[in-house]
Assembly symmetry: D2
Homo-oligomer: 238 residues x 4
């Protein structure tokens, strides 16, 4: 059983009627319903809960955390960010969605600014699978086409990925590394670009397939107890 | 002084008036003129010369080899391919251009098929620099726009690159990892996508800048004598 | 069910009484018995069988191939090597053991020489897990200690690994990247250093654990049908 | 001209007679003298200077920063750490030495804990060059032997390196990835293990050669102005 926690700042949906019309129960619940399936035990957490819903207890019982944030990035407390980072280092998986590229937790794990170019005109995006046998691509096919999405364009200020899984083409003329993997400590990280709050992206079957795959991929790491610090010699020294 | 050898199969330009009109002295000579500059000593070699112009002597005196081939891939003798591979392993740089993705030498160094999707309708290509401080991008700016080029689309069957430097956007809807680096043995390798024989791509200032940069980048490796085989113990064994 | 084929040249065990005493039924059968377990369907193949036991049919029905070869490397026919490479590109996993670093198939997939330093005095090897949450390390602990093994030392002429999983320490003073991962085409590759024919390495529980883990890791790729070649435009060209 | 700033917390040398005997003018000055050479303009900075000597002005005029810190890690102000990170993202090179593995700046750029095993008994270390043609290895040979050093052992909690350049063997039985490269934003980073304050490591010719090479390698990036944020469409949208 993989224990998934979906974290959403849950601000846009409560503040905008237009966005509430797309995600009436919030992006977190749309995602939870969308990826529900065998072997997953799903919980949600939001910004305005105590400790943002990310208590020690909750994180200890999370194998993979999905993160959706945007306008509330700076409202996330540093102590909670540190706690999430610590859990990733211990082996919790992390899936960072869309505007999470500027979240404190993503920038903290990457060591870079997460900056990029963007444009919000609802243009077509096509995400090409450039690593077709990657577990995250399972059942997706050669590409995902989204009729309307926000554009994110290069340069994307992230470290060279461990693996580049998807690259996006945008009708307006840009490209973007939109599905990329990293490891930090014992935890696996996947950044996945699409998911602007004004579009029904999280109802798209292929997008949900990718996120469900990513959850299973991230949970396939095998965290173990590692001892650090002062150690005695293993050998008689020469 | 960096000793560069530009290898071109030099078939299209001799067989097609249309292509000869674009490259009257052959792609190799267009490239030689285009990248000529301080610190470069440039020679050329072609398929129909004895040993394809790639004698032991010539390769021993080459720091960076540029490769352009297409219809003549299978006419390149295996023994010469092995010789080039051996030199790359010893530290010679290699820049593989465009249709060289299916050359024997590129497939041999990659271990993959080099397969891809393609379309020849002269559409617009835009190569985005996704690693803007890479030495290969020096002086190029955020992207290179080519009004007419052949399209190459993903999936491109190559190993995960060491660094992805350029990603192409095509008007027809595809993307492509069009500037990627590798190391094999002590030699640095750069694959650079554009350069179809029917277009004046090798007169484009930015394209030439990239190729010149890549030559200098590949020559910045520092090959050294490495001893392999049976060795005595360094320590008294425990 | 993961379909595993264990290939062994099976020469040393038939030619040397000393080695036959260690592996009376051959390394392939020792390995088969050692990794036997839930979800694995294991077959073996050897050099002297027709087509080295690696027929089209056999490879088509193999998800992960384990390779042990040494003195017979050059007796492996090129056509069979090409066939194995083709299957790796299509998604078959490959685990290359010990002296397989100089096998035709490993060199073909790496594009390098596979050269290294070596010494055969039966010294102590300690393989440190440098990626403790990697699925290949599951259940292994911080290191594997082998009282007597052949030494392999750096420089090891392989491409920069996708992931470095184990690094060996040798009593005689050398180090070696002894567990490294790659991807070629859709197939996952793991090179694992220990396993000299004169030592009972393939009875070591941790070594067998690693190989079993590696089989499951390699089988976790999800090969899919990929279309290459000429394609029509997806978009109306600008 | 490459503008180098060597930062040293400069505490041990002032607090311990034993260490002052090894580095009477401080590690920073020993390093400055040791790498002095053509094309380098060297300055130093220390913890107790205002702003730790790392003013906006100083950092703006630094191409490569060398960092040595240990007991004073927590005394480095967060605002200065942020400033250094920002400059790395803009393209400044960074060389992190020895106990800098736990510095705020290194952990911030890596996103991991930087934890490791250690032992201080003055055992022998041998650093093997596992990428012999890397510019950082130029003129060094197959390995560097240090008769007495502190031991650092795996697991080292850092992201998978872009390139692994050196791996250390220790007499006491451990290994360590002791020369590793990363890129963050436009800046190149090199972590180099040896350099414990009680040993004359920074007088060793090979160690100094590596550090001088690393400075030149880090300075070979070509930072450029990158525009982020909202952008207009490049193409008429489909």
């Amino acid at each position: 059983m993989i224990r998934v926690t979906i974290w959403n700042e849950y601000l846009h949906e409560q503040e905008s009627k237009k966005i509430a019309a797309v995600y009436p129960k919030g992006i977190h619940n749309a995602l939870a319903e969308g990826i529900r399936g065998d072997g997953l035990e799903i919980a949600t957490a939001t910004l305005e809960e105590p400790e943002h819903g990310l208590t020690e207890e909750r994180l200890k019982n999370t194998d993979v955390l999905i993160w959706w944030g945007h306008k509330g990035h700076l409202r996330v407390e540093d102590a909670i960010v540190d706690r999430v980072q610590q859990r990733v280092i211990e082996g919790m998986g992390l899936i960072v969605s869309h505007s999470g590229h500027k979240s404190k937790i993503f920038r903290k794990l990457m060591g870079t600014s997460g900056s990029l170019k963007w444009r919000e005109v609802g243009e077509k995006e096509r995400l090409w699978a450039v690593n077709p046998s990657h577990p995250i691509v399972k059942g997706v096919g050669p590409y995902i086409e989204l009729e309307h999405e926000e554009m994110y364009g290069e340069h994307f200020d992230v470290p060279e990925p461990l693996e580049t899984v998807f690259i996006s083409w945008f009708a307006g003329g840009e490209v973007f590394r939109s599905g990329i993997t990293y490891q930090r400590g014992q935890g696996r990280i996947f950044y996945f670009r699409p998911g602007h709050e004004t579009y029904p992206t999280y109802y798209n079957k292929q997008v949900l397939q990718v996120i469900g795959n990513a959850v299973r991929w991230a949970a396939a790491a095998n965290p173990s107890e590692v001892v650090y610090g002062k150690v005695p010699p293993l050998e008689t020294l020469n």
